[in-house]
Amino acid sequence: MGVPIVQVCSMRQVAEMVGSPRIVIGKSVLHPTGDPSLDESGELALRRHILESALAMLAAGEHSNAA
């Protein structure tokens, strides 16, 4: 049995091309789980949101979703 995985990335087409099983769109290629234009609490909230999407997808076995 394998380990279910979700990929947080910005280049969806690349992830789809290589057959990635679950995809969450991150903030940027340069900072997938951050945003330098936000303040500290804003960035933390962004990260929580991305992680919650990813975890929900792992648990549900969903296919793809934008964060």
Binding site: V3, P4, V6, C9, H31, P32, D35, P36, L44, L58
Partner: protein
């Protein structure tokens, strides 16, 4: 002239030991051809003789590939084969794996080997660089054509012919590049290709593009609230000072960064070493690459059970595909051993 000695390999089913209930039988060998080996012998003619048939259950081989291949070698080598033929395995996954593994083992021991499979058999991708694999149909309905092709190739290999371009003799390409001299220079060939393309005529590109098969989706075995979750990244995370000496690109290795007891990443603990993107934003706050601070919060709140104590990371820049696959295989193996239930990979 003494006939060329061939040893044939079959699984339990084609070796007439039984079906799924016999898939656990161990390696054995019998003199002469057996089952489809008799039809193969008829096609090989008097110059090539199947001196023995090796048989093993598919499950035995799949569960212990290396030791089974060694045991089969020990049974096969006393027959002094000039050539080993396995299968054909058609689209059967475990049988294909067995045939590929045995042929690769024989080739490594200096004995030419070949097998046959359907293009969607996962073992094609795994073994095509290490042995000749004849293209066959998907099921045993295509046995006659498969054996024709295998026998023809066996004759050529047995005559000592070196198969430089497997794709030209009905096999899957080995995925190797060979230096060769072409009549026309590159510009002429490129323009010729373009003209053919514009005219809607067929042409063959000189660049082979990698093919990817979709990853089979695993499912979570426990509720999220009880799960162990691992964080992974291809964005170049290393322990501060890069003690594992991971290159910042074109790498064949990965790092194991401990997050045991860490509530969030600090520049004192870790840094980012990646030559493929501007790392200033993630280096000023590494949680922007691997969301450790938020993951710890969600862990405390009980959304999932526990965060796995190691982050595995590599630098995904200009990475050779086979290195990427091997890194993925090794990380996957460690996660399985550690009983991790799910993983979140952040990619730059």
């Amino acid at each position: 002239m003494e006939p060329i000695r061939v040893v044939h390999y079959l699984n339990q089913f084609f070796g007439q030991l039984g079906g799924e209930e016999a898939a656990g039988v161990g390696p054995r060998i019998e003199a002469g051809p057996l089952g489809p080996g008799r039809q193969l012998q008829a096609r090989l003619g008097p110059g090539l003789t199947i001196v023995a048939t090796a048989i093993c259950g598919d499950n035995t081989f799949a569960d212990h590939p290396e030791s089974t291949a060694r045991e089969l070698s020990a049974l096969i080598l006393p027959y002094r084969p000039d050539l080993v033929i396995a299968g054909p395995a058609f689209n059967s996954g475990r049988y294909g794996y067995s045939c590929g593994q045995l042929c690769a083992t024989m080739e490594a021991a200096g004995i030419p080997a070949l097998t046959g499979m359907y293009e969607e058999n996962p073992a094609v991708e795994q073994f095509r660089s290490r042995t000749l694999i004849v293209r066959t149909g998907a099921t045993a309905r295509h046995t006659a054509q498969a054996l024709d092709a295998i026998a023809e190739l066996a004759q050529r290999v047995a005559r000592g012919e070196r198969i430089a371009y497997p794709a030209q003799v009905g096999c899957f390409p080995a995925g190797m590049r060979r230096a060769a001299i072409r009549e026309a220079e590159a510009a002429e060939r490129a323009v010729d290709m373009l003209l053919r393309k514009l005219a809607g005529e067929p042409f063959v590109s000189e660049i082979s593009r990698p093919t990817f098969t979709p990853v089979t989706r695993a499912t979570m075995r426990v509720p999220l609230s009880q799960s162990t979750i691992a964080l992974l990244t291809d964005g170049g995370l290393v322990t501060r000072g890069n003690p594992e000496r991971m290159p910042n690109g074109y790498t064949d290795r990965f790092t194991a960064v401990s997050i045991d007891g860490l509530r969030h990443f600090t520049p004192e603990a870790v840094e980012v070493n990646h030559g493929g993107y501007d790392t200033q934003f993630v280096n000023s706050d590494v949680n922007r690459l691997v969301p450790l601070d938020a993951a710890r919060e969600l862990e405390r709140e009980g959304l999932f059970g526990r965060l796995y104590e190691t982050v595995y990371a590599t630098a995904g820049l200009g990475m050779a595909l086979n290195n990427a696959r091997e890194i993925g295989r090794q990380i996957g193996q460690r996660l399985v051993q550690a009983r991790v239930d799910g993983a979140i990979l952040t990619s730059t």
